[in-house]
Amino acid sequence: MRCAVIRFLGSNCDADCYHVTKRVFHHPTHYLWYEEERDLDDYHLIIIPGGFSYGDYLRTGAIARFAPIMEQVRSFSEKGGLVLGICNGFQILTEMGLLPGALKINRGLRFICKYVYLSVENNKSPVTRSFKVGEVLQMPIAHGEGNYYIDEGGLLELEEEGRILFRYCDEEGEVTQDSNPNGSVGNIAGICNRGRNVFGMMPHPERCAEALLGNGSMDGGGIFNSLQEEVEEINARTKEMGEGRTHKE
């Protein structure tokens, strides 16, 4: 799986993401500077990491979305490429309209940095395919603006189309108001687009993907395992198709 991690001025989880894909999972990984304009067709996965791109001025993600590289990300995603936005990356993807809704300031106004429980709501996606539905994961969050908002119609659509991937829950997997750290509509912690190739999540899988870190949780690794499985499947399919063509010729 060939991966790229985008770096903006103000990104601060870029090195963590790079470390996980490159050193923990041993995938070829590059950094991509936000000013680059080259196409991304060489990659399977583009990660938009967490941080405070452009100082979070105006609104989180509002200015980063206009960076030259993001036009490339848009066309990459339109061709079906896998895009994972974590935290500030999720905020940027909603500002771009690649994911619906918006991320507002946390209900309690404070920046929250702690471990939370997540319930896997849907495993028919390239980021959740290695999990079971209802599985309870533990991952850290670290954000001031993670309060997911979407209007009623939009929420219904997400639910009907199985595009809510993670909800905040308690240790038993119950989705309760008390387990909602930031006020998100429907306890939503992660979603995908209609094409199921663009993902946004506020929790940080890259911070709990190896035994050394993660405070006892390696659940974030499941996200990267899922993506790897997906890419291996796509590669196998492409190879088969290629061989099929050769035979016909």
Partner: protein, 86 residues
């Protein structure tokens, strides 16, 4: 040169945590009857343009493209002929 003021406010029905906290503070200081307090943003700038209509068209474009997020915010603006810059 035209002076532009853009006001961006949370849409109706969108919870505004900053507003709620400030409202609570006012009520606890004894100011009775405060309600529906919302916190938004005001942006002031100067813009070159040949006519008010042309400036307005630019400002609307700016609001839609960057200054407001239509999912959660509404915007209004005022455009004045050149005033004191500051």
């Amino acid at each position: 040169m035209w002076q532009v003021m853009v006001e961006v406010m949370p849409k109706k029905g969108i919870l505004n945590p900053e507003g709620s906290v400030i409202q609570e503070a006012l009520l606890s200081l004894g100011y009775k009857g405060v309600s529906h307090l919302k916190v938004g943003k005001t942006m002031k700038f100067y813009l070159e343009g040949s006519s008010q209509g042309q400036v307005e068209e630019q400002v609307q474009k700016m609001c839609k493209q960057l200054l407001a997020n239509p999912v959660i915010e509404d915007y209004t603006y005022t455009i004045l002929a050149e005033g004191d810059k500051g």
